[in-house]
Point group: C2
Chain length 371, copies 2
């Protein structure tokens, strides 16, 4: 048993979902030292209060063994495969009491695909559980067209639109990622047990909750933030007046991901939420897949004429921090950027592709340099 892995697993169960101060602590002192501090309650008051109830739980070894037996793993910021680029979106998002805007501490993953790779070009396709025939049909049409352009389909594995999105992706042979509001060992909803097994085989089943964690309302809301974060755009196919899909859309907006909604008949209750979002400017209208991919397109593309100052505006605070660590001329390595910026290696690695796609930096055999 790797003690660092065990520390991550322990912290994941103690955190049970988004916990910004714990993420900060781990970033500052590393997982093992953080785990020690949590166990001993040697913590600032805010963190002590939030870890008090579960700090005595230590099922790390059992959890890691269980997930390994299921063909899965615990993915952490230590791993090359950590989707750092996507999770940078949380930087600079104002915290709110009711919706903690922290990145996940770690991710429990089933499936052989690489998380960072599969989510590099991804659209979240979500919607109401009470989908109409039209909604399911529209979902498969959008997913088919997205698959044709090699986009990964992220969703929440719920009944209705989510399930239709995953099924259409599996049928079209494009990767699909299910983000759960419970442990990856639990089949929820129960009727989607087989679908989840197929997703794990062909794509990925992901959760920030430790094995065995049951679904709960606040976990669905927290899960929605990960669906939005792991995608480049969120497409709401159908949403009733009070659909959870609008929560995912709100998260997307906070994280800077474009939100699109599919219109439908005005006579259909399943489209009321989509129409309201479009009317109120919370979502753009998507009538075809191209509307989605144009919105989701890579960072910086489409604005080649904008200068560096302009392009810096769109960067997360961490990416900007990495950019500032570059010398005015000459090449540097990732380690020097880490030292210069004061950010961990992994954050630097996550920020570099963002800076590269923004046209701010480039690399060759000598290292990274400003353009």
């Amino acid at each position: 048993m790797n003690t660092r892995a065990a520390a991550w697993a322990y912290l994941s169960r103690v955190a049970q979902g988004p916990c910004a101060p714990l993420v900060e602590l781990v970033r500052a002192v590393g997982p093992e030292e953080a785990a020690r501090a949590v166990r001993g309650a040697e913590l600032p008051e805010v963190l002590r209060a939030r870890t008090q109830a579960r700090r005595h739980l230590d099922t790390a070894e059992r959890d890691l063994a269980l997930v390994e037996r299921l063909g899965g793993r615990l993915l952490t910021p230590d791993d090359e495969d950590w989707p750092e680029w996507k999770l940078l979106a949380f930087d600079g998002v104002e915290p709110r009491a009711d919706r903690e805007s922290a990145p996940p501490l770690a991710l429990w993953v089933l499936g052989c695909g690489l998380v960072a790779e599969l989510t590099e070009r991804a659209v979240a396709v979500v919607g109401t559980r009470a989908a109409s025939g039209y909604g399911e049909h529209a979902t498969s049409q959008f997913v088919d067209d997205l698959a044709g352009e090699c986009w990964t389909v992220v969703s929440g594995a719920a009944y209705g639109i989510d399930g239709a999105a995953h099924r259409a992706a599996l049928a079209a042979g494009t990767p699909t990622v299910a983000v759960l509001a419970c442990g990856v060992d639990r089949a929820y909803p129960a009727g989607h047990g087989r679908l989840l097994r197929e997703i794990a085989k062909e794509g990925l089943v992901v959760s920030e909750y430790a094995p065995g964690t049951p679904p709960a309302r606040h976990r669905f809301l927290a899960r929605n933030r990960l669906v939005a974060a792991l995608a480049d755009a969120v497409l709401v196919v159908e949403a009733g007046a009070r659909s959870g899909a609008r929560n995912t859309a709100a998260w997307a907006a906070r994280l800077g991901r474009p939100v699109l909604a599919v219109p439908g008949p005005v006579t259909s209750a399943a489209s009321v939420g989509c129409h309201r979002m479009i009317r109120d400017g919370e979502a753009r209208l998507a009538a075809r897949a191209a509307d989605v991919t144009e919105a989701a397109g890579p960072v910086g593309v489409g604005e080649p004429e904008s200068g560096p100052a302009r392009r810096l505006d769109g960067l997360s605070s961490r990416a900007a921090q990495v950019y500032e660590a570059f010398p005015a001329s000459g090449s540097v390595g990732v380690r020097e950027l880490s030292e210069g910026s004061g950010l961990p290696l992994n954050s630097v690695r996550g920020a570099l592709p963002v800076l590269e796609m923004s046209g701010l930096v480039d690399s060759d055999e000598t290292g990274w340099f400003r353009r």
Copy 2:
């Protein structure tokens, strides 16, 4: 035979649709003098060229007699019933070679209703001739709800959405106005002969073209501008990729009328134009009648806190001209405002309700005064 009425009828046939320089000439010298000048070709070059082909036609007496026999009349800016308030929208609209943005010179009208009164609170409901069952159903639902709040329904009497809008208005007992691209004595389209007779009986059939004028492509485009002008908002229920309804919507935008479009299934060709307009910001999404009436709501309402300077911005140049003719304090009559502004009495009468609803002026038994 009233020689002034005959002059209007003569000019209407010579103009054949929008003709800004002729409208200006009539405003300046009156219809009889303008008719004399046109007949004798004693005109500026631009007007001589545009009236040359038809200046010898004088069927005024026959036209007036024909329309009277059909239970109609020729409505002119001389009449109390002239929809001056609505037609003020043309003031300040930049002329364009391909779309002459002039108000009509006069209107041939069938039906007993008053044009100014029936269009005071009006929504244009338009759309593709190739309407789907969904489109016709949505049309009748919107019209039913608009009828419940006493809105007049303006449309173009075409097959498809237009016809459905008129029929639903007749069924709901709310006034409906058909604006034609041919003479009011012609049943076009032929299959709508009976519908047009019913509209003339219960509402109004209106055209700027003299009796007998056949429909033509450029007349449909010119007609669309009147549909937009006579309404407070334009609702496009269904529009294909190349539907004429988008021309009406473009006119509405030029005339400062809100444009709304009804979404539909993304799988329906009849909704492609609506979706495109919503996506591109040319139309707001309308999922229910309240979306339309909120957009169409009376001038100035909803902005009670804005000062006079702010509110003046939204006025047509003629309304602003009338406003400037007010003394800083004390009351004035309509004639003094006409003299002060240099505008004809009818324009002043048309502008006063606009200024009143904007909260800029008010009236009591002593006359009109600034607020």
